[in-house]
Amino acid sequence: MIVHDDEPRLMKGNEALAEAAIRAGLQAYFGYPITPQSEILEYLTVEAPKRGFVVLQAESELAAINMVFGASGAGARVMTSSSSPGISLMQEGLSYMASAQLPALVVNVSRGGPGLGTIQPAQSDYFQATKGGGHGDYHLIVLAPSSVQEMADFVFDAFRLADEYRNPVMILADGALGQMMEKVTLPKAGSLPFTPKPWATTGKSEGRERSIITSLFIQPEVMERVNLQLQEKYKKVQKEVRFEAFHAEDAEILLVAFGLSARICQKALELAREQGMKVGLLRPITLYPFPSKVLSSLVQNVASVLVVEMNAGQMVEDVRLAVNGRRPVHFKGRMGGMIPTPEEVLHEIETITEQERIVKV
């Protein structure tokens, strides 16, 4: 449970996230400027000398993630943030960190791609975030906020999960969530405990085993054992699954959407309900672990599923796996920084209702 301040404030998503990180006991931040998340680096740079933590603007995202590696290996509560192209540059480091089992918070305030793309919001980094992203069999734990409040709160969840599972945790936001201002009640400073890290490289003191942080296991037997340990960990992580469901009980059409898309879907749901269409919404909060079980049970009572994403259809693959052919799964997506409107989603709902002859009430 996160303890909050009493006073609500009006803040930008990026700034709320940065302030929450300081309150969560951030000890070091390493990053590189990129739109639309530079406010995180800027905010922390202003606060660092006053509140006593390390901030370093690295020469590249490559260097930044490896500084995170070093600081995490040395036992610090550490984070970085970037946006899509920068996160791509960090994938090597994230693979190494997942293998060396290093906790850290990585924030992706994502933008439209591929390539240099655009600076407008998109959700096209879903595959990269949830399926590993770099080389090898690994997963990040991925949290998807859909409000400025969650931009702040999920920092606490992310650091807790990172320490508990010794795994990098990603907050997958988007340019809109980073840039928009909303009312937020910030988590209380100092309310997130520090767990001991006896494995950290803090200097080999008398009587303790050497601490070695490595992702190199040259013997295949050992490398397989490490992989099995990681897979065992990812199994345990499944219990951390989080989601939100709206009007799912009596829904004929179930919308599935995360982050900003889920907010748009909420509005579309209201519009549809006004017209007598029974529409529900499932919002995965953890994208990894994905709420497959709840989705699997929810679809038993619906006629059809509509997945809405700001990409060409990425999470829809996980939805289809969970639905496993039992119901039609439709997809509505916008790409390249374009945001779907509630009316667009409503139109999609109407089309499905008509095509599948779903009875209105």
Partner: protein, 258 residues
């Protein structure tokens, strides 16, 4: 059965320092790595800083340095050793931090990190082993391979018009105001070993002052990669490598530290 000591009534004048594990080195006969590992760890033992030292092993032949150096260590991605060392030093500013890197790691894939780490004046020791070749991957051209040098990727010799010039990165680094102490040494003779050990001692003593990066290049051989016997390799190194990478200090602190 009681063990009978092989040697009695004699004074022990030399032994493996406690800062080296008893794992036998995997390095090829004649390779410089073992010598540099040993003197680095001897200095750590002599200074009594084993419990305050954190090292970073690179990708390259010394990727397993942590199997031998009996201190806390992290193994970095290829080229990123000095970024990892930066991360460690920034959160543990009072510990002794070193990165131990080869020429491919430090002067090719990690050039950006090298330059910026030194330019920030990170208070770490960068130990740079320059043998002009990629040893671990089987003897390919390195940024420091000499012109005309035959490697598995320059089978007709390194040609300037195609592959440019051997990179004297230590000279570059010495130009940066963040560099506090920059020196180029070797370890192929007893004299050079003593000098390099002294340089390492200086560098770790300077690290306490927090005045910038200490950077030690050790011009080294690679008998296997060069396809020579250890003696041939040392002779070739003296004749060719030292001509292009002359030994000596490139930057010494202005202050008197004695």
């Amino acid at each position: 059965m009681d063990t009978i000591p092989a040697i009695t009534d004699m004074e022990l004048v030399y032994c493996r320092p406690s800062t080296l594990t008893d794992t036998p080195f995997h390095y090829c006969p004649g390779c410089s790595h073992g010598v540099v590992h040993k003197i680095l760890m001897e200095v750590v033992a002599e200074m009594g800083i084993q419990s305050q030292t954190v090292g970073v092993a690179p990708v390259g032949c010394s990727v397993f340095a942590y199997n031998y150096m009996n201190v806390d260590m992290q193994e970095a991605a290829h080229g990123r050793a000095s970024a990892v060392a930066t991360g460690i030093k920034r959160v543990l500013p009072d510990k002794f931090v070193f990165s131990y890197q080869g020429d491919g790691d430090l002067a090719a894939i990690g050039t950006g990190e090298t330059i910026h780490t030194v330019n920030r004046g990170e208070n770490i020791l960068v130990l740079f082993i320059n043998n002009g070749i990629y040893g671990m991957t089987g003897g390919q051209m390195a940024p420091t391979s000499l012109l005309g040098m035959v490697t598995s990727t320059t089978p007709y010799g390194r040609e300037q018009s195609v592959m440019g010039y051997p990179l004297r990165i230590t000279d570059l680094v010495a130009q940066l105001p963040g560099a506090y102490y920059v020196t180029r040494q070797a370890v192929h003779t007893a004299t050079t070993v003593r000098k390099t050990k002294k340089a390492i001692r200086n560098a770790l003593e300077y690290q306490k002052l927090k005045r910038g990066t200490c950077f030690i290049e050790v011009v080294s051989n690679c008998p296997s990669g060069w396809k020579m016997t250890p003696i041939e390799a040392n002779n070739w190194m003296e004749k060719n490598m030292f001509a292009y990478y002359p030994l000596g200090d490139l930057k010494v602190p202005k202050e008197n530290h004695t």
